[in-house]
């Protein structure tokens, strides 16, 4: 095959499974030279998994992978680098204590007589920094520049390795408007120089502005492709969701009761300049929408006492309470299923039983003695009511699928009979079946009078589940939408800082 006619990068039939989940079920994707390809899909659609495979972070189980028509298989990141494929991570990987030059050439320092050739490094770094439009002295410490610029340094680093393909995983998730614009300029400039970019984003507006083509994933499969003239919001959402929303979100009518929680000018430590006020009542499911980094997780963490409020008031069932730590929150009947399930939700090396019973151990203990009968009962209950799939109660939580792990988290809190359930990205990284069960559970709990406040980056989840939604933008609540006002357009407007609700 002729080099010029075959795509720069082509994969087909790619499969990847993790314990309990089939993350990729035979996806394909191709990329031309000098093309910006956007990859979109809901959480758990398999985008990040594919990117990790392309960049050599993890191997695929099955499938074909061609670079310029030549079959390749990457054992590690260096193999991918050798083919010119570089991943710009969501979390940046610069060493803050080293200067820019040292970071760009980390691990590949040119040497002269066995010593690092500083002048060569500086000269080269200057060249690559100017290619990404960064006008900074090369001896600036990486940790001292804002995150948007750090990202450009990462790109410069990739270019210095002769990257032909840059993979960007949600590059704008923590950038300001201005930094985003700079990044776009750089990406467009690189494209004109023949460098290809795979761009993953949840922000469909960005995709529309930047992409030459869009590939959509859904549940680990290709859901469709849009050429440049077909890229619009409705087409993208249709492919991403791919099913009738009403069939997925089986909603009942809720009649909200008395307010369970009411925040008045609460100040979270992350955005202390923006006081937050909101209210959730018995039997109500309230969504919090917004972009990544808008302060939604921080809001839930402040309510739960992980990062105690700096000011304002928090009322539980009409009484002002001060919540200094999770312990205090739990004793007020609050529970949090955190976004970072593995770090905050579970103790992974412990068993299903030990995880399920962790919050309720003390309640069930007498004078500190473990009550093993109660512990078993709590576990039994969680496994049964949440339909947790586990060979036995002693299985380590680590070896369960994301969906089953999330069910343990929910199960352990239900044993505490909370009044207010906080859910942070409740369906992130879990399969469709478990997703539906979690939605059903939310419905059931609200029906029983529990107040539910959930944060979600998935538009459809907010539209499908929320009785009411708050939208956050850069640390403030930019608007509140009732069930009738809820629409994608309204949420996006508020989420991007356009304060006029549609």
């Amino acid at each position: 095959m002729d080099e010029t006619s075959s795509p720069l990068l082509e994969v087909s039939g790619l499969q990847k499974s993790f314990p309990g989940v089939l993350a990729l079920r035979g996806v394909s994707l191709h990329l031309q030279k000098g093309e910006v390809l956007a990859l979109i899909g809901e959480n758990g659609a398999g985008k990040s998994t594919l990117m990790k495979i392309l960049a050599g972070v993890q191997p695929a189980d099955e499938g074909e992978f061609l670079v310029c028509g030549k079959k390749v298989s990457f054992r590690n990141v260096n193999d991918a680098m050798d083919e010119g494929i570089a991943l710009i991570h969501q979390e940046l990987n610069l060493c803050g204590n080293l200067d820019l030059a040292a970071n760009v050439f980390l691990g590949r320092e040119p040497t002269k007589a066995g010593l690092i050739d500083e002048s060569e490094i500086r000269r080269q770094t200057e060249k690559f920094l100017s290619q990404v439009g960064l006008d900074l002295p090369v001896d600036t410490l990486a940790g001292s520049i804002p995150i948007g610029k750090q990202q450009l340094v990462e790109i410069a680093k990739a270019l210095s390795c002769n990257a032909r393909v840059l993979i960007m995983d949600e590059p704008t998730s923590s950038l300001s408007q201005k930094e985003t614009e700079t990044l776009f300029k750089v990406v467009k400039n690189l494209r004109s120089k023949g460098i290809s970019v795979i761009y993953i984003s949840h922000r469909l507006g960005e995709v529309k502005e930047l992409a030459d083509r869009v590939t959509v994933f859904r549940d680990g499969e290709n859901a469709g492709e849009l050429m440049q003239d077909q890229i619009d919001h409705d087409n993208m959402v249709k492919l991403m969701v791919g099913r009738e929303l009403s069939e997925f979100y089986d909603r009942q009518v809720h009649r909200p009761g008395k307010p369970v929680i009411s925040l008045k000018d609460l100040r979270c430590p992350s955005y202390p300049q923006h006081p937050l006020s909101l209210k959730v009542s018995e039997g109500e499911i309230v969504g919090v929408a917004g972009l990544v980094g808008a302060g939604r997780t921080e809001l839930l963490q402040t309510i739960f006492g992980v990062t105690p409020a700096l000011g304002g008031s928090l009322e539980i069932s009409g009484e002002v309470k001060e919540i200094r730590n999770p312990r205090a929150a739990i004793s007020e009947g609050i529970a949090l299923a955190p976004e970072d399930r593995k770090q905050h939700g579970l103790v992974l090396p412990m068993s299903v039983r030990e995880n399920s019973s962790l919050p309720s151990l003390q309640r069930d203990a007498s004078r500190g003695w473990l009550n093993e009968n109660a512990e078993r009962a709590v576990t039994q209950n969680a496994v049964k009511s949440m339909k947790i799939k586990t060979p036995n109660f002693e299985q380590m939580a680590r070896f369960l699928s994301g969906g089953n792990q999330q069910k343990i988290v929910l199960g352990k809190w239900l044993a505490m009979s909370p009044k207010l359930l906080l859910l942070d990205e409740p369906t992130r990284g879990i399969d469709v079946g478990a997703k539906r069960e979690i939605y059903k559970l939310m419905e059931k709990l609200a029906g029983e009078g529990m107040a539910i406040l959930f944060v979600s980056s998935e538009m459809e989840e907010v539209l499908g589940m929320a009785d009411r939604a708050y939208v956050m933008h850069e640390g403030q609540i930019s608007g509140e939408l009732s069930r009738d006002q809820l629409s994608e357009k309204a949420i996006m407007n508020l989420a991007t800082g356009n304060l006029v609700a549609a």
């Binding site: 999770p326 312990r327 412990m350 030990e354």
Partner: protein, 334 residues
């Protein structure tokens, strides 16, 4: 018995049998009594540090706490002529206070455990030397005009802490009873109370445990308090055992033996793992290796080398075992 505890137990039996075959004198009652006594003394410290290691921490001050406690106890009894039980009380309160201080510095001032306890190692050692002007001292009283002060009571304590109980022709050293009681208490605490569970949980994932509503700071402080308390008890046992305490030397490097026993006994320095039985057996293995080297006739200059290799191989073996167990669990299809 868990697999890793079984492994260390087999190691103990193997070294025991091999030594007995090479040199039958190894089995004589006097040698056995000594072995049991020293194993028990080491095991007390090792159990203490196991609590801390389970939380993912470390305590380097154990040897110096042993030294300081034995010095303070000797001063109280010999120089101050204090009531023996009050003297014991003072030393226990001293060790509890040291543990509390460590715990507070680590959880509230956020100083790393390594640093806090390394400084402790230096400070307590020099305090002991300063209090005694670096002269050796023992718990047994002087004779003055009124005779030996509290002699009978102190002799009673001496029997309690370093005596022997005749069981037919075999004399069981009393420290063995201490380690029996303490290890049962520690095992019950770790496996049957919510606090034990919390220590394991926070050792595996401190943030996750805090998110489940557990006061992780308080639990960590508890671990350091228990560690120093056990070191203090060991200090009392050593004071009576040695009769003469060397302020500069008594307890020196003991923290390393204690940590080695904890690690060999199945505690991971990453936290979240450990078993009382494993630690006690490992402490015995360490003493047994010392004894065997003498009995078999290997140069004593090789003591440290052999000890180091056994611990290293033991821990590597343990890692392999853990991986095999994990693979088996992962293979269980959901």
């Amino acid at each position: 018995m868990k697999k890793n505890v079984l492994g260390i137990f087999i190691l103990l039996v193997a070294i025991f049998v091999i030594t007995a075959v090479i040199n039958p004198k190894f089995l004589n009652a006097y040698n056995m009594q000594n072995l049991i006594k020293w194993s028990s003394l080491y095991a007390v410290m090792s159990l203490g540090v196991a609590f801390v290691i389970i939380t993912g921490g470390i305590d380097l001050s154990i040897g110096s706490v042993v030294g300081l406690v034995s010095v303070v106890l000797s001063i109280c009894l010999k120089l101050e002529g204090m009531d023996p039980w009050s003297a014991i009380g003072i030393t226990l309160v001293l060790s509890l206070g040291i543990g509390l201080l460590h715990g507070l510095l680590i959880t509230k001032a956020k100083v790393q455990p390594f640093v806090v306890t390394l400084c402790g190692l230096l400070v307590y050692r020099s305090m002991g030397r300063w209090l005694t002007d670096n002269q050796s001292i023992g718990p047994m009283p002087y004779e003055d005009d009124a005779g030996y002060k509290n002699l009978e009571q102190i002799q009673g304590l001496d029997f309690l802490f370093s005596g022997k109980i005749a069981l037919g022709s075999f004399n069981l050293p009393t420290p063995a009873l201490f380690i029996l009681v303490l290890s049962i208490a520690a095992a019950v605490f770790l496996r049957r109370t919510i606090w034990g569970r919390y220590l394991f949980a926070l050792g595996n994932n401190e943030e996750g445990t805090r998110y489940s509503g557990i006061n992780t700071d308080r639990m960590k402080i508890l671990a350091y308090v228990l560690c120093s308390l056990f070191a203090g008890i060991a200090g009392i046992l050593f004071a009576f055992e040695l009769d003469s305490v060397q302020p500069a030397q008594t307890g020196e490097f003991y923290e390393l033996y204690a940590i080695a026993a904890a690690v060999l006994g199945g505690c991971s320095l990453r936290g979240g793992e450990g078993s009382v039985l494993g630690v006690v057996i490992a402490a015995a293995v360490i003493r047994l290796i010392y004894n065997s080297i003498n009995m078999v006739g290997i140069s004593t200059h090789l003591e440290f080398g052999i000890l180091g290799l056994v611990i290293l191989l033991g821990v590597i073996g343990d890692e392999f075992l853990k991986k095999a167990v994990a693979r088996k669990q992962a293979a269980q299809k959901t």
